[in-house]
Symmetry: C2
């Protein structure tokens, strides 16, 4: 077993740890490698999901789509999509029925898997630009919230935008916006800066997904469109079956964050 810090691991070693049972959120793991959201649906749902993503590119930047039944991706050719995320969710009729670390037994030959960009991908760029990552420093998952903003519907899918929130020192908000704007395939620029109530978020201390994250004095909450959005929207429309990652427990690919960086 490796003794490297999570941030210094290469993706193949991190995935091997998850395959062997390590079961933790992946924020801060494998610095500079691209983490993705995973959604696997029966093929007859695939068009609705892909169209929903096209119509809502900020929360749903699709980085890869598999052939039906396949458990491999061009983003990480040696990875097994059924075992290599640290934690999954298995859904029936929109109801969460299991949260295992391996979904090999639940896999089906008609599943089309969508891999969707994750805001963790711009966190390395934020850190390099001197922006502190409070949730990483506090050893927590990022905080995610359902908002009062509706996504553009597609087929059977409709529902609210989910955002991730980072507490950013006021003097670095412009840097955080500039850095993330240049990574449009991993959520891009923030959707809102400042007042949580403007997004319908009542209490930052009670996120809908992930962990509450403590602000430091002078911090401003900054909100980015979140890749949990399609998972939340999909489950609200109750497909007969689906498999997703657990929020914050991402698949770590071999793609570099810089592959998705324009500047």
């Amino acid at each position: 077993m490796t003794t490297a810090a999570p941030g210094a691991l290469i993706p193949a070693d991190a995935r091997a740890m998850f395959r062997d049972g390590t079961n933790v959120p992946t924020a801060g793991w494998c610095a500079a490698y691209t983490q993705v959201n995973l959604i696997a649906v029966p093929a007859h749902w695939a068009y609705d999901v892909l169209l929903f993503c096209q119509r809502n590119p900020k929360p749903c930047p699709v980085l890869d789509v598999t052939e039906p039944g396949s458990w491999s991706t061009s983003l990480a050719p040696c990875a097994d999509l059924r075992t290599d995320a640290p934690r999954y969710r298995v859904w029936e009729n929109g109801r969460l029925i299991d949260e295992p670390s391996d979904v090999t037994g639940a896999w089906r030959s008609d599943l089309v898997t969508f891999l969707i960009g994750c805001s963790f991908s711009f966190e390395t760029a934020l850190a390099q630009a001197g922006v502190p990552l409070r949730h990483v420093d506090q050893g927590r998952n990022v905080a995610m919230y359902k908002t009062n903003r509706d996504c553009r519907p597609a087929g059977r899918l409709q529902g609210p935008l989910v955002v991730s929130m980072r507490q950013i020192p006021a003097g670095l908000v412009d840097t955080a916006i500039r850095v993330s704007t240049l990574m449009p395939e991993v959520h891009g620029s923030p959707v809102h800066v400042g007042d949580p109530a403007a997004l319908g978020i009542e209490d930052l201390a009670h996120p809908d997904f992930g962990d509450p994250v403590r602000a430091e004095p002078g911090d401003v909450p900054v909100f980015w469109a979140c890749g949990v959005t399609p998972q939340a929207v999909l489950m609200a429309s109750r497909p007969s079956f689906a498999i997703t990652h657990a929020p914050g427990y991402m698949l770590i690919t071999d793609a570099r964050d810089t592959d998705y960086r324009l500047g």
Copy 2:
């Protein structure tokens, strides 16, 4: 009838002219407004087209997808997709059967229409940055070429990348790259600079689509992924029916080019 120069027209007036029979390429029309490629296919082809676009985002940046049978788009709410491009192509089994200026009579209730970004959208930004547009100055359509690079296949769709070419003064190539890089939803950065043979293009004087464009002394050919790619690939796979715009005869939307500009 308006007497404004084409570049100074607003999109609604340009569309009205096309609806009334004006039948010309749209390069240089309605400066600062977003022009799009149009592809309408029977619904049972829509997933393949959308997946092909996801897998080949540089040639195929999808800006909108309609509901089946609809002839309207959020990009231009008052436009009629059946009449408002200057020239269409009607295809049966991959064979071009008509090139009319109105496809109202050919429209079908199962057609899903894809509107795909166009490199004309970054031409205003290029011009503002001082980059001359040789094809506009010469009153010609842009030159487009099939290349020896294969797109990533999706379902029934596979085929080569098509590129548009602009002759750029050598000292302005860096500017052209910087400006277009910041518009990733309208093809983004070039795919190649310099040698046409590297893309399998034998003779710049004989484009596969559009018009040949004369170089000025000191110009370098710069190649961008082109929205004609999905049309060429789709027709090679011979769907029973399809309607597209004619290359270079684009739909002009009400969206601003700056909507697709990051910097």
